[in-house]
């Protein structure tokens, strides 16, 4: 493969959707019937992010979308299956069929926004949003696109499956960022929220508590290494911990990396504001970090769950 020169990735737009959400008002009624709840949420957030980024006309030619969702197809599957039971399997609605595939979220966004570079959907549980963002960073760095909408969306899970999740019924929410190659953003005088400096990702086995700490250590080390700044000043830790034990392990892991590298400033830990519930949670955290950090301040945002991925991302705020 061709040698890839290192490209920097910055955030130039943010779109957030949380309940209550009027899809018809935001997206129009045309074709709405065949968009799943998750797709509606994601599309609305992408539209807001595009507007926020002030993307010029014709941006679709070099832009794409990476969506993270883990339950984005579930309600469509339930509806499709129920219709087969009720009406007969030979009479299911072929227009409803594509929505049982998670790929439809990114696919529909690409169609509606005219995104020609790529459309991808990743499904990695509670870290789906973080993993989508990291994947998008890789894709921009390897010149697959200049601009990518990346984020996550989850609709409210049907009551039939709500008890499967130990955090209870999930809320409908979606956050998408506009990730853009830095020189591209500068050339068009885009407002820049921050730079996505680096990430680390690894699997976090479910076997014991100490595995979590070790996994966070690996992910944070990877993020620091990729960020590649010799004098990185890390001001905030946006936590993914959902209880005291996880919180202590997370802090111990981050501090261990800090001591090893001896490059970080004092660590201000954010409170447990948003316990990790869905793939969207860390997206809200990043938005919060970008809003709170001062110019040139760096923060780390973690996303993890036992038995799933542990993904750690480092951002630098730009004011």
């Amino acid at each position: 493969m061709n040698e890839q020169s290192k490209r920097e990735v910055v955030i130039t737009g943010i779109g957030t959707i949380a309940a209550p959400f009027n899809a018809a008002e935001m997206l129009g009624k045309k074709g709405l019937k065949y968009l799943s709840g998750t797709t509606r949420l994601a599309l609305a957030a992408v539209q807001l992010a595009a507007k926020d980024a002030g993307l010029p006309e014709g941006f679709g030619a070099y832009s794409g979308v990476v969506a993270g969702t883990s339950y984005g197809h579930l309600n469509s599957c339930i509806d499709f299956y129920e219709s087969a039971i009720k009406d007969g399997e030979a009479y299911v609605n072929p227009m409803e069929f594509p929505n049982i595939m998670m790929t439809m979220t990114a696919g529909q966004i690409a169609i509606r926004m005219g995104l020609k570079a790529l459309n991808k959907t990743v499904s990695t549980g509670k870290t789906a949003g973080a993993d989508a963002l990291c994947y998008a960073k890789d894709l921009i760095e390897t010149k697959q696109a200049e601009v990518l909408f990346a984020g996550a969306a989850e609709e409210t899970v049907s009551q039939m499956f709500a008890n499967d999740f130990n955090t209870g019924a999930r809320q409908a929410e979606s956050v998408f960022f506009v990730l853009e190659e830095k020189s591209h953003a500068i050339k068009r005088n885009a407002g820049i929220y921050g730079a996505f400096l680096g990430y680390g990702s690894c699997f976090c086995p479910a076997s014991s508590g100490l595995e979590l700490q070790a996994s966070i250590h690996r992910a944070v080390s990877g993020a620091v290494q990729q960020a590649g700044r010799p004098a990185l000043s890390l001001q905030y830790l946006l936590t993914a911990a959902s209880n005291q034990q996880e919180s202590e392990q997370e802090e111990a892991a981050v501090r261990a990396v800090m001591n090893q590298t001896n490059t970080f400033g004092p660590l201000l830990k954010d409170g447990i504001l948003l316990p990790e519930k869905t793939g969207v949670t860390s997206m809200f955290q990043i938005r919060k970090g970008l809003e709170a950090a001062k110019n040139k301040e760096c923060f780390i945002c973690n996303s993890f769950a036992s038995g799933e991925n542990c993904t750690s991302m480092i951002f630098e705020s730009v004011r």
Partner: protein, 408 residues
């Protein structure tokens, strides 16, 4: 830092054979995996044939504790076991953190989800034992747990290009130096909902899949898994691993056109993905010796894929052998790109091109060399493997012969 990426291990579960030798022999013999569907009742439907993997027994590959997992997880774990053994790669010795997992799927653990839905619709208050196992990402999780792999764990849900997307992702991880090896590929299992949906879309063939034939009627729904051990060349050489070939590059694109139909325009997504794969590989058009086509057997795909190949390759398209292994194994959805990659690697190493079977009547709009009905001897050095999906998701891989010794 850019790295060369090689394939050192292969694991296959397919309707025509489990394991690389039965799979390859089946392809070369033009064996069809198509039969009457046994997994569920199709009597109320218009279509009754599919390509199931009827010979698979989980207990032959998995320890007891893992037998309760869904079929997609079982396929993936079994294919991973074969691939790791083939590569001679012992995870603890190699480094648990040095290896990652990326797997693509269209519908994930759909059989398990259907089982849950059946139970819950009959008894809404009951919680079935399988509850958490229907989640798609359980597929990659189960592989990580079974082999104690601690690198990144990614599940791609990009429908029929998912396997190729997972391989492309693995290449990015390896090229960036973040991982030394990746288990990458795709999986799909037979599901009622997919069968109902494709049947109602009238996208399914009656009894046989006939890609590029004038009388083609549609896809034959299939299932299977293909997992590969991808590794940096330096790592493979250091541990004297057998090398099947290289992943030279990849390209991806989005149609932004229609949810289920491919973009027929001259600069449609298929052509852009192929062009980008060639550009990314740093090769010339005439370096490609064979195209392992997406070739689904639908009227639209085969016509538009043919046109896209001609757009990209010009007159050289008429000298390029193009074949569809879906004529034998059916459309294995998220596994298709991975199984195509494996077929391409085996074709390179065995100097034989798999045929397109069931080809009887030429279609004026599909006028390339489709390697009709018989495998062909050819010294192929570089293959383009196409995967195109619902949602206008297109990914092409360039797979090359490895000339540096240690070949298989």
């Amino acid at each position: 830092m850019s790295q060369r990426i090689v394939v050192t291990g292969i694991g296959v579960i397919s309707p025509i054979g489990i394991g690389k030798e039965p799979f390859f022999n089946g392809l070369m013999q033009g064996k069809s995996g198509c039969a009457l569907v046994k997994g569920f009742d199709t009597s109320q439907l218009k279509y009754h044939y599919g390509c199931e993997v009827s010979a698979f027994r989980s207990e032959e590959f998995l320890p007891e504790a893992f037998l309760r997992y869904g079929r997609a997880s079982a396929f993936s774990m079994a294919a991973a076991r074969m691939a790791l053994a083939d590569a001679g790669l012992e995870v603890p010795d190699f480094g648990q953190e040095q290896i990652g997992i990326s797997i693509g799927t269209g519908l994930g653990e759909m059989q398990t989800l259907e089982h849950c839905l059946r139970q819950r619709l009959m008894a809404p208050d009951s919680l079935p034992e399988t509850a958490p196992l229907w989640e798609g990402h359980h597929i990659t999780r189960s592989v990580a747990e079974l082999f104690s792999i601690k690198g990144p764990n990614m599940l791609f849900s990009t429908a029929c290009s998912a396997g190729s997307d997972a391989i492309a992702y693995a290449c990015m991880r390896l090229q960036s130096g973040q991982q030394t090896a990746m288990l990458a590929g795709g999986v799909e299992v037979f599901s009622q909902m997919a069968f109902w949906g494709f049947s109602r879309m009238k996208a399914v063939a009656d009894q046989e899949c006939r890609p590029f034939d004038a009388g083609r009627k549609g896809i034959m729904i299939g299932e299977g898994a293909g997992l590969l051990v991808l590794e940096t060349l330096a790592s493979a050489i250091a541990r004297k691993a057998p090398i099947y070939g290289e992943i030279n590059g990849w390209g991806t694109s989005s149609d932004a056109y229609h949810m289920t139909a491919p973009d027929p325009g001259p600069d449609g997504g298929m052509a852009r993905a192929m062009r980008q794969a060639i550009r990314n590989s740093g090769i010339g058009l005439k370096d490609i010796d064979y195209i392992c086509a997406h070739g689904t057997g639908t009227a639209a795909n085969d016509k538009i894929e043919t046109a896209a190949i001609k757009t990209v390759f010009g007159d050289y398209a008429y000298q390029l052998p193009v074949s569809s292994i879906k004529s034998m194994i059916g459309h294995t959805g998220g596994a298709a790109g991975a199984l195509g990659t494996i077929a391409s690697l085996l074709a390179i190493n065995n100097k034989t091109i798999p045929p397109t079977i069931n080809y009887q009547n030429p279609d004026p709009e599909c006028d390339l060399d489709y390697v009709a009905n018989q495998m062909r001897q050819a010294d192929i050095r570089m293959v383009m493997n196409n995967s195109f999906a619902f949602g206008g998701n297109n990914t092409s891989l360039v797979i090359g012969k490895y000339d540096g010794g240690l070949g298989v």
